[in-house]
């Protein structure tokens, strides 16, 4: 068991180290988040709608689109010089590779999600709401469900001719639960409603994340086999 966790950690650390040195994906996603917030500001008429009313939805749309940018490139660097073959041939079970990749994507996307929330607070003067820890939990579970399916389908789409263009078509229909429960919980927490109102949403986000991680770990080996 600890050997297995070590393997997951090694894969995740390798990806995060690469990211630490190149800073490609996190900078791209972070810049996207800030710029999207700027565009949102000019796309809504503040005399008609208050940014607080639609903030939760915009936060989640920014996370999903920005996340797609980073998750889509999960296998990019490795595909370029055949390094993925090396990783796949190493004596690490395929599901550990999947879990490691998901973990590193999760760390990146979670950093970006917190940045998105911070940017919206700053730009639109929104308050952190009832319970910042619950908000952080909702973001974490939503991000986990997203990256688990995202990593699986990034492996699928990078094996096709269409590449990353295919990813949103495969991913968006499946992400409705993340948006519904995530944006629902975020909206309520930001507008100061009690924590008891979002417990159901949080549970559903956790169940979805569990399903996504389990499905990905089982199915990943069928995607990468050759």
């Amino acid at each position: 068991m600890s050997a297995y966790l070590g393997q997951i950690g090694a894969i995740a650390w390798k990806d995060l180290l690469l990211e630490l040195r190149t800073r490609e994906r996190v900078v791209a996603m972070g810049a996207f988040a800030v710029l999207a917030a700027v565009l949102f500001n000019y796309s809504i008429d503040r005399t008609v709608v208050r940014p607080q009313d639609i903030g939760a939805g915009l936060i989640w749309m920014t996370i999903v689109f920005g996340g797609l940018l980073g998750v889509g490139r999960t296998f990019h660097l490795e595909a370029e010089d055949g390094a993925l073959q090396g990783v796949l041939m190493s004596p690490v079970p395929k599901d550990a590779i999947f879990l490691g990749k998901t973990l590193s994507n999760f760390v990146l996307l979670y950093i970006v999600s917190l940045l998105v929330v911070a940017v919206f607070m700053l730009f639109f003067g929104m308050e952190l709401g009832t319970s910042p820890p619950m908000l952080a939990l909702a973001l974490a579970l939503g991000a986990l469900g997203f990256v688990a399916l995202g990593t699986l389908f990034a492996a699928v789409s990078s094996g096709t001719r269409m590449g990353e263009t295919l990813l949103p078509i495969l991913l968006f229909p499946l992400l409705i639960p993340v948006i519904v429960f995530g944006a629902g919980a975020t909206g309520r927490l930001l507008s100061g409603r009690p924590v008891s109102e979002v417990v159901g949403n949080i549970r559903m986000l956790a169940a979805f994340a569990l399903m996504a991680v389990a499905a990905g770990s089982v199915l990943f080996r069928f995607v990468v086999e050759d």
């Binding site: 699928v156 001719r161 559903m204 169940a207 199915l219 086999e225």
Partner: protein
Amino acid sequence: MSGKGMRLTGTALAGLGLLGMLLVYSLSFFWVSTELSQGVAQRIFYVHVPAAWTTFLAFGIAAFTSGMYLWLRDERLDRAALAAAEGGMIFATIMLTTGPLWGKIAWGTYWTWDPRLTSTLLMWFIFLGYFMVRNSTENPEKGKRFAAVVAIVGALDIPFIHLSVVWFRSLHPDPIVLKPDRPSLPADMLIVLLTSVLSFTMIFLGLFLLRYALETLRAGQQARAREATA
């Protein structure tokens, strides 16, 4: 079943189903009583509900045979998944076109973000992803595996999608036949509905067999072409 037997059975089933549809149309236009509150528009129900049932049947077959394909790697299972997914997409399209036509009259709007409407629309897109993935790989075997993964994840996700959109308020009429106590539909309406469900299922199974036989022929032809070049 041999290829020829399958084509004959498929043609017979689809033909019987089409005859059944003629019966359903005549019954629903001239025989069955008109529903009190919705009027004539309710009659589209005899096409809409069977199409919905067939879509779910097709999705179930596609997901199940996809899972079995990944496990056993039998080409026949992949052909069955493809044939079911194509049928499912046709019937999902029927459901998505008849629904809004009725909705415009009954609800006053073509589209609402109702759970059942939303889940069906997303199911249609999952089918679309299935075909796009399948057709965009250099190596056909890879495309089959990818498509199977899409079908399985789609089937696992559908309950979550449905639950999540139920979180929003629902406008769609509640189930009236498949519910815990007895169906609350008058006898004549139930007869037409069941005839239509039977006809739709036969048309689907007929198309399924024909599509499957076609795919088998195609695979055989490709194998012969490979042999000839080798």
